[in-house]
Amino acid sequence: MTTTAPATARKPATMAQALTRALRDAMAEDPAVHVMGEDVGALGGVFRITDGLAKEFGEDRCTDTALAEAGILGTAVGMAMYGLRPVVEMQFDAFAYPAFEQLVSHVARMRNRTRGAVPMPLTIRIPYGGGIGGVEHHSDSSEAYYLATPGLHVVTPATVEDAYGLLRAAIASDDPVVFLEPKRLYWSKAEWSPDTPTAVAPLGRAEIRRRGSSATLITYGPSLPACMEAAEAGRAEGWDLEVVDLRSLVPFDDETVCASVRRTGRAVVVHEAGGFGGPGGEIAARITERCFHHLEAPVLRVAGFDIPYPPPMLERHHLPGVDRILDTVARLQWESDWTEGRGA
């Protein structure tokens, strides 16, 4: 999962460090950027992503709020109305739900409501997903809610480099961005150039993480490592798998995804969110609409089960792992013995 940018002064960095750096650089560059949320001040956030910001920029720029998510997002709306660029931290996926009304009824609609007069340059950072042994309510994959809400951009990094680049792009965006941070990748490491961090990536472009010709694995955020691993393991089965990291769910990069699927003729969408009504359905449907005659097999999905997120000791059975991905690739009708009705 290394990237292709020039390797000036690269050293190992974690995704968490890249995110912190992105916040710091954005705050240093633009005094309108304000970070706010629960415990983001002295503590630096429960994941330490805002570490040092209150000290460096003062408590007015990096503010410990009272414990009320609707209040946090609602006041951020007002701050954005006055020209600030709030970056809101929701402590965990499930604790963003109290702010749902503010998000859907205001954040997503303010620009449209006012015909562009009141933009919402808000970034809403949400650590999401499982795999870290979190107890109930600390591991939800809530992206389906956000991508079904017109007016929001929904972005999620899978690499250290992207964590920086996409967060900078999100904060720079004049539209609200739900920035989903894969918790389980916070401590993932990569060689990275913190001294000259990669220029801001434009939102809405997928990235091909691995070239291949037999089938395309389409994924994002927390599931990229499993897909990369599966692609490697797939070689033993004779498959040369391409891996597409969406990076942005909204806007959706039909071009990159469809070009890949047209080339390979087969696709599997992989994500941790529940399958039913999850992002995979949309992705599979739009690929099929656009690439029907190129498909050798239906687009299949590997997703979380349609159950409440499991307790820590059972979560490994829920998460899409390498085996489940490869089992699904195997069902892409390579032979003539396909029987319908085995779909997930």
Binding site: G71, G74, R109, T114, R115
Partner: protein, 396 residues
């Protein structure tokens, strides 16, 4: 020996003097509590000190407001408004809210507060755009510093707090005044907004119009509090209780709260005791949940009548003054009627224009689809049904 005598611990110096002093932020609650009875000026000795100029100005605005409400309601019957929540009977609150603010300040109205926006100087047609149904907001909020009319109850309160806070951080002496109903005070957003406001010492004034009802639900089913203003103490904020039909009292109390906020004194919660004379909206049937007799007791406490009494006492309620006032109100109504009778010019393609700053490819494709449909429709109309659909509605 004690249980706490354990290696590495030497806790037996127990203090029986009570919790350590820093256990909580200390504020004296007494000055935060509202008066027992709503603050009034009209009908009391204090009325004498009122400036006649203020009284006639308030009166003219109230009369215009009443007429505006009647006209807007009439427009619903003519199908020119999708819906209208009237503020008849609440004009003193609406007008006082507008007058309390300076130009640089911000108003955060709810769906019922178009009158406050109009009294602040907004074009009534723009104010009514949401309720007419041609767009969600009919004006540029930055132009008059009026936030979009807000429908999801109490959700605009944190916006007002955030805006006022941002202004303060930038060093601007801007005050935000946010309006909400008695029903809206039950929502979690009310609670969270007030808490944030006091913690941030945000220059914001919360005006609760307690008009007795949330649609059909009377105040007694909404709260068991001594008054809504008493809620303020739970945030360390002063609460004030005012007769919402006493225009000079409203004007004074809101003015003081705005000044206090501007001086850095922090937010205030104002409860205006008033009454919703009309049904919730034109679509509502108030006979299902209240009696005419109750409404009559409030008609007897009408804000315009109260003011007229005072003006008459001062010899200011001359036929000429009343006639001029009425005429100005009629002009407003006539202008509104006329302009609302014209079909709005709508462009369906606007549906896609402001979803994002930059249109996504996905929306461009959807816009193209609609444009094609409209063109096909227009072609069809020319052939067989030309003229039946308002042409401007279908203009891509």
């Amino acid at each position: 020996m004690t249980v706490l005598e354990q290696p590495g611990s030497s806790r037996n110096k127990s203090s029986l003097a009570g919790p350590p002093p820093a256990w909580r932020p200390r504020v004296d609650p007494a000055p935060l509590l509202p008066d027992e009875e709503p603050y009034r000026i009209l009908g009391t000795d204090a009325a004498a000190r009122l400036d006649s100029g203020l009284l006639t100005r308030l009166y003219a605005q109230l009369v215009r407001g009443r007429r505006y409400n009647a006209q807007a309601t009439a427009l619903t019957r003519q199908g020119r408004l999708a819906v209208y929540p009237s503020s008849t009977g609440q004009e003193a609150c609406e007008v006082a809210a507008a007058l309390a603010l300076e130009e640089r300040d911000w108003l955060f109205p709810s769906y019922r507060d178009t009158l406050a926006a109009v009294a602040r100087g907004l074009d009534p047609v723009q104010a009514l755009t949401l309720l007419r149904g041609d767009w969600h907001c009919g004006y540029d909020p930055h132009e008059h510093r009026i936030a979009p009319l807000c429908t999801p109850l109490a959700t605009q309160l944190p916006h007002a707090v955030g805006l006022a806070h941002a202004a303060r951080l930038k060093g601007d002496e801007v005050v935000a005044l946010a309006m909400v109903g008695d029903g809206g005070t039950s929502e979690g957003d009310f609670h969270e907004a007030l808490n944030f406001a006091e913690l941030w010492q945000a220059p914001v004034v919360f005006l609760v119009q307690n008009n007795g009802f949330a649609i059909s639900v009377p105040l007694a089913k909404q709260t068991a509090a001594p008054s809504l203003a008493h809620k303020a103490v739970g945030y360390g904020m002063p609460g004030r209780l005012v007769d919402g039909n006493d225009a000079p009292a409203m004007h004074e109390v809101l003015g003081e709260a705005v000044q206090r906020a501007r001086r850095g004194g922090g937010p205030t919660l104002v409860e205006a005791v008033t009454y919703r004379i009309e049904a919730h909206t034109n679509a509502d049937d108030a006979t299902r949940y209240r009696t005419d007799a109750e409404v009559e007791t409030w008609r007897a406490h009408d804000p315009i009548a109260l003011l007229e009494h005072e003006l008459a006492g001062r010899g200011l309620l001359t036929d000429e003054f009343v006639a001029t006032t009425r005429e100005s109100a009629e002009q407003l109504a006539a202008d509104l009627r006329e302009r609302m009778n014209a079909d709005p010019v709508l462009n369906p393609m606007d549906l896609f224009t402001h979803v994002f700053a930059e249109q996504t490819g996905q929306l461009r494709a959807q816009a193209a689809q609609l444009r094609a449909e409209l063109e096909a429709e227009a072609a069809g109309h020319t052939e067989d049904t030309a003229g039946t659909a308002p042409a401007e509605e279908a203009r891509p």
